[in-house]
């Protein structure tokens, strides 16, 4: 009897913690027209260079920096982070095939942390949904295009008007990171808020300038 109660309690606990995960998305929606419309609504930034003001919070610590993205016409990016007083915190090169390498860094970020998280999240506006993405209807009535990448589900969330408002990365149904996007007139978000639950940090990026 006692073991049964314990099983129920444990089951409830597991169920409770499971509520933190995104609910099951069910099957993809077979709506070719909507899927095509959402894919078409994503437009890669048409700017060559964007500067963001960034505040990074992790483990009760906070730093502010300026991040610069330079996109090359032939593909690929150069990305750098600079402190307010001019120190280069990191400089990264991303090749057209997506392969990245750290050119320099002066903070104890690991290369992987920089490339797979901080910089990858910064470049999200340039890396939209793929043609192979599948369409899903989310419980809050928004739409999502999802494709798989490096064993992670990359979810692009669109509001009812078809505006791209959020990006989520999930592993096995568990939310690893979430980026909310706010747009103004520009082709890059004017605000990006990152909640990286996997690596336990938050970032707020506010666009300072962009050059065509």
């Amino acid at each position: 009897m006692r073991s049964t109660i314990w099983s129920i309690l444990i089951g409830l606990l597991v169920g409770t913690s499971g509520c933190l995960c995104p609910p099951s998305l069910g099957e993809p929606v077979d709506d070719t027209a909507r899927r095509a419309a959402l894919l078409a609504s994503y437009q890669p930034p048409d700017t060559q260079r964007v500067v963001y003001r960034t505040v990074l919070r992790s483990g009760g610590r906070e730093i502010s920096l300026v991040e610069i993205v330079k996109a090359f016409p032939e593909g690929g990016y150069s990305v750098a982070g600079v402190t307010d007083i001019g120190n280069t915190l990191y400089a990264v090169q991303i090749d057209p095939d997506g392969k990245g390498r750290v050119i320099s860094k002066s903070l104890p970020f690991s290369d992987r942390w920089l490339l797979d998280h901080l910089v990858k999240e910064l470049l999200i506006p340039w890396n939209g949904p793929q043609e192979t993405s599948e369409l899903y209807r989310l419980p809050d009535e928004s739409w999502a295009l999802i494709h798989e990448e490096d064993r992670l589900a990359c979810m692009f969330v669109f509001d009812e008007m078809g505006n791209w408002t959020e990006f989520r990365r999930l592993a096995g149904g568990r939310l690893r990171s979430r980026i909310s996007l706010e747009w103004d007139e520009g082709s890059t978000p004017n605000v990006m808020r990152v909640d990286n639950r996997d690596k336990h940090y938050r970032v707020v990026r506010e666009r300072v300038s962009s050059n065509p």
Partner: protein
């Protein structure tokens, strides 16, 4: 890159390990040290102490000090130059306000003991629990020393090559340690002589052969009234900016102050 720190979950936890090196260099002028053999060949060694003494004596009468600066950060990899503007306020014995006002806003206070760092983000000033606060405190203390013309501190970190000239001179700082030299090749402090006064007109921090930070100072105010809250409040930013006369004044210390 010799840095071998690795961590995945808390990227800011160990930043204090590196920041002192980086930030102390930003303090630039304070880090003067004794001349190396090589540098002695470049300047008459007997003139170096005199040059530094004159600079120090020239600053001695100033109890308060303020200056604007323009900073250019050249990043060769991105083929860009980032320009920012800021201002520094100082009051003896060691209060410092170091503020970047554009294109982003950030602010650092030092009261002689503690440092407070702010970033203007999401339409408000945010007090940051900055992992480099201790190092930033050292930097701001050094800035205070530099303002006073005190170039004796931190001799252990840099070798000095002071080159006097008719219109001022230049002080070269060369990191002694290899660890620091990986981040900073050299710092150049350009001193200008105006009448019988000396002032630091430009600081160039060369991170590599191609990357550098260039700070140019202007509108230096001496012994002028300091706005209330300058060393305690982010909200004093506007008043601090208003403390500087129009750019076209030949001598900002003689200009009529705008009424706030």
């Amino acid at each position: 890159m010799a840095t071998s720190y690795r961590f995945e979950t808390n990227p800011l936890a160990r930043t204090a390990c590196v920041w002192p090196f980086l930030l102390l260099v930003i303090a630039v002028a304070p880090g003067l040290a004794v001349a190396s053999d090589a540098s002695k060949q470049q300047a008459d060694s007997s003139q170096q102490p005199q040059f530094l003494r004159l600079l120090r004596e020239s600053r001695a009468p100033y109890h308060t000090f303020a200056t604007r600066f323009i900073q250019h950060k050249r990043l060769a990899m991105l083929d860009i130059v980032l320009e920012s503007e800021g201002m520094i306020f100082f009051r003896r014995p060691g209060s410092v306000r170091y503020e970047i006002i554009s294109p982003v806003q950030s602010l650092m206070f030092y009261d002689g003991k503690k440092v407070r760092c702010y970033a203007f983000s999401e339409d408000k000033w945010n007090l940051l629990n900055n992992p480099g606060a201790t190092a930033i405190g050292q930097v701001l203390r050094q800035i205070g020393r530099w303002i006073q013309g005190d170039f004796d501190a931190d001799r252990k970190m840099f070798e000095i090559d002071a080159v006097p000239a008719d219109d001022g001179g230049c002080i070269h700082l060369i990191p002694r340690s290899k660890a620091l030299a990986e981040y900073i090749q050299r710092v150049e402090i350009h001193v200008k002589k105006v009448g019988d006064r000396y002032r630091v007109a430009q600081v160039i921090i060369r991170e590599s052969d191609v990357d550098l930070t260039d700070m140019r100072f202007r509108q230096e105010l001496h012994n002028q009234p300091i706005p209330e809250g300058t060393f305690t409040s982010p909200a004093a930013s506007e008043a601090c900016q208003a403390a500087f006369p129009p750019e076209d004044c030949s001598d900002p210390n003689e200009a009529e102050k705008p009424k706030s």
